[in-house]
Amino acid sequence: MLPCTGRIDESLLLKAFENGADGVMVIGCLEGDCHYISGNIRARARVERVYAILERIKIGPNRIRMYNLSAGEGSKFAAFANEFVNQIREVGPSPINLVRGATKTEAVTAKETT
């Protein structure tokens, strides 16, 4: 949980993958509805950068994704989580984990308090 997705940066997102994450979902306020005005927009840009990096180093694609939710959309959150986990199941475990011999598919979640 973070005060705002604006706090998360590329180095931390990559850390998660170094740490064996098969996928990372970043969940922020609805765009234009950011509690801190522009945090989620910046977060989106950083997520996109990491997406590009992962793709180029043959770890991605589709292992990182930014979602936007308003607080209290619990069911939507669940839907997103399932959608994303299924997406990750499709792309399979991260090459890192294959190398390390791990196989479980899980997603680290950076979630923002709202």
Partner: protein, 221 residues
């Protein structure tokens, strides 16, 4: 400031092919300001490399450091104690810094992690543009403070050429015609008489065409 852009990760991976144990060196100078070589980029690149390597089935050990400046001997010396413990140094400072490291650490291969760009200014966060080529013979006082050598695609001294359309250079839509800028400025300063003069052939010997340059100022030594 000196600007730069990150090298494609594939290219860096290729450079690193022979090595498994390296130093990744950032710089707190210009490259931090233009966000290609600071502490954060060191972390991002280090993670990226470790991931890329592991994905390819090999691991790499990276020591992450950021020097105050890679273009000053005292700071560079800070690396000496451990640099020999590593097979190579990947530097994301400007070309000057990288070469300086190479000179100081003669037995360690130095690899560039960024492409050094130009002497430029920050247009806005994330956008930089070139202003000076360091030709060593400044004429800005004659050209309304806008450099014909840098800002004109052909470095003309009597521009603009026929390729200037509505203030845009023929080279690409995003580039303003340097000479249009100069003229607008001269008009504004009403110094058009400067334009009307035939300028002497430029002496390029003061720029890098005269070979690698040196500045020695006795009074400063």
């Amino acid at each position: 400031m000196i600007t730069g852009t990150p090298k494609p990760i594939e290219e860096i991976m290729e450079m690193l092919e022979p090595y498994d144990n390296i130093v990744l060196a950032g710089c707190h100078g210009c490259v931090t300001v233009c966000r290609v070589g600071g502490e954060k980029e060191v972390q991002v690149l280090a993670s990226t490399l470790r991931l890329a390597r592991e994905a390819a089935g090999r691991t790499i050990n990276i020591r992450e450091v950021s020097l105050e400046r890679q273009c000053d001997p005292e700071y560079v010396e800070q690396m000496r104690p451990y640099v020999t413990d590593y097979q190579a140094v990947l530097s994301i400072a400007c070309g000057a810094g990288i070469q300086f490291l190479a000179e100081k650490f003669t037995t360690t291969p130095l690899l560039p992690g960024i492409n050094t760009g130009f002497l430029g200014v920050t247009e806005r966060q994330g956008e930089w543009s070139e202003r000076c080529q360091g030709c060593g013979d400044c004429v800005l006082h004659l050209t309304g403070g806008i450099c014909p050598v840098t800002r004109c695609a052909k470095s003309l001294f009597h521009g603009p050429c026929g390729g200037s359309v509505q203030g845009i250079c023929e080279v690409d839509k995003e580039t303003k015609c340097g000479w249009q800028l100069i003229i607008d400025r001269l008009v504004a300063l009403n110094q058009m008489e400067n334009y009307g003069k035939l300028k002497p052939y430029k002496g390029w010997n003061s720029s890098r065409d005269g070979g690698p340059r040196r500045i020695i100022r006795e009074d400063m030594i």
